[in-house]
Structure formats: C-alpha cells, structure tokens
C-alpha cells in the first residue's frame, strides 16, 4: 500500500498545529508503526530549504530504540520525558526527537552531495528500525 501523508495513522495528540509528516519518510514511519512505535512528526530534509533543513524524526519513547539510535553516533537526540518538559510542551506522552542537520549553507553541499548524505542518514535510520524487535507490550 502506498502511504501518503493523509493515510498515516497518527495519535490524536500528535496533531498539533505545526506537526507535519513528511511523505519522503513514509517507509520509515510505516516500519515504526508496524513495530508499535507512534510517530509524531518527521522531515526528510530539503536541499532548497536553506540553512535550517534537517532530517527529523519525532517518535514514541522506547529506550531500546533510542539507545540504538544513540549507538549510531550520527544524530542529535532529544529525549523528552521529564514532568517539566511534558507540561511545558503540553503533551502526555514521552518521546524522542532524532535530528541530523543537513544545511547546505553551513556544509556547502552540492545538491548531489546533499542527496548522498541524506540517503546515508535515512539508510541508517532504516537499518536501526529493521534491527529493532519492536514494542513487546
């Protein structure tokens, strides 16, 4: 089944104003959802987007999965779980945000280099998820 932005099942509390699911991440999101991990927003990064473009994946808290992503040594990782941050963000679920900065302004990538690096990050994410056994609960 082709997964589009509209067909990706989202948790109701993920539909905040500026939460978007990027269609380029749909395979990754489908794999995570299959393994019982909800995805709250994602972005694959866009060459034309300027200095702030990034790969971002915001997903349901799972220590095994987060450790596996940390183990790749490739990503900014934000683990949001304290009573303060849940209250601050006005959410009820613990979560993790994975970020890879792809700014061509900073790194001076050509579009081709950008795409190679982007693919490398996305492949890494896919490999980690493939190796993850899934939520046992």
């Amino acid at each position: 089944m082709e997964i589009t932005q509209d067909s990706i099942p989202l948790q109701t509390d993920s539909l905040q104003d500026d939460y978007l699911i990027d269609p380029g991440m749909s395979d990754i999101i489908a794999k995570l959802e299959e393994k019982g991990i909800a995805v709250y927003f994602s972005c694959e990064g866009h060459y034309e987007a300027g200095p702030n473009t990034m790969i971002a994946l915001n997903f349901e808290y799972n220590e095994e999965l987060i450790t596996a992503f940390m183990d790749t040594e490739k990503f900014f990782v934000l683990v949001e779980r304290s009573p303060f941050i849940l209250d601050f963000l006005n959410i009820s679920h613990k979560r993790c945000i994975l970020i890879a900065m792809l700014s061509q302004d900073i790194y001076e990538y050509t579009e081709e280099e950008f795409e190679d690096i982007q693919k490398d990050y996305l492949d890494t994410i896919t490999t980690v998820i493939d190796d993850f056994e899934g939520e046992i609960n």
Binding site: D18, L20, D22, P23, F41, S42, C43, H46, A49, N52, T53, A56, E63, I66, T67, M70, D71, E73, K74, F75, F76, V77, L78, V79, E80, R81, S82, P83, F84, I85, D87, F88, L89, K94, I99, I106, Y107
Partner: protein, 142 residues
Amino acid sequence: MIIKTEKDGDRRIQKNAMEYIMSDFSVENLGEKLKRIVFRLYDKGFHTWEAAEANYEDDYPRLYIVLNDIFHLHYLVFELSDEFDIQITLQHDLKEDAVMIIERNFNKDKYTKEEFDKKQEELLEELDIWSSSILGKKELEP
C-alpha cells in the same frame, strides 16, 4: 515541503557542543553534592564539560550536567528515572566533540522556594546514587 520546528525547538539546542567545551566552567563553583557527583563521574572515566544546580532566582531554573564520551554513557543514562531529560548534541558530525546533557528544568511558578529546594535535593540525590552505581568507562570497554 519545509517543516516548521516546534516553538521550543531552538531553545533546547541553544548551545552547541563546542561552546560547552570552550566554557569557563569550574567545578569549584558547584555545591558540595553536585561537585561530588562530578568528581565521581570523573573517577569512572566521564569528564564533565559543564554543570550547574538550578537557581530559583533564574527565570528558567535548570539543573544539568554536560558530559563527554557519550558513546559509553548512552548505555548507562537510562538507569536514571524519567525525572531527567537527555540530549546528545553533535558538532558538525564530529563524534569526539559530541556531548550528552542530562538536565532537569523547573517551572518555578509551580514551586515555593522551599518546595523547589526539596525537589532539587531529591534530584541531586538521584544523580548521586546513579553516579555511584554505574559502571566505569573501562568496565564498559569490550
């Protein structure tokens, strides 16, 4: 399509790894308990780039420890309770400049000064126990 970051997204990556490494942090300015935690972590092979107790006088009080060598620590950090948030921050993809931040912010409007002090004491106690109980870096080497 360009995704908008969350309203607070930039705030929490406010400082890059190199700025922590280059900071003029001195362990001597810490309270006794946090100082003990920093020294104990050091004895286990984990160097603290920066740390501070939360200060009730600040607008955004924040208790935090910034540690190097994240790629041993990530096996240990989930032994801490959900009271703490965790960040890994990379600097231009250089693994050696990566830092792990263990932090707890406070909404001071929700605490009296006395409650705040009590809460911070509990959190420091947890860090104290954690730093005592975790394996050292050498014990984690394959």
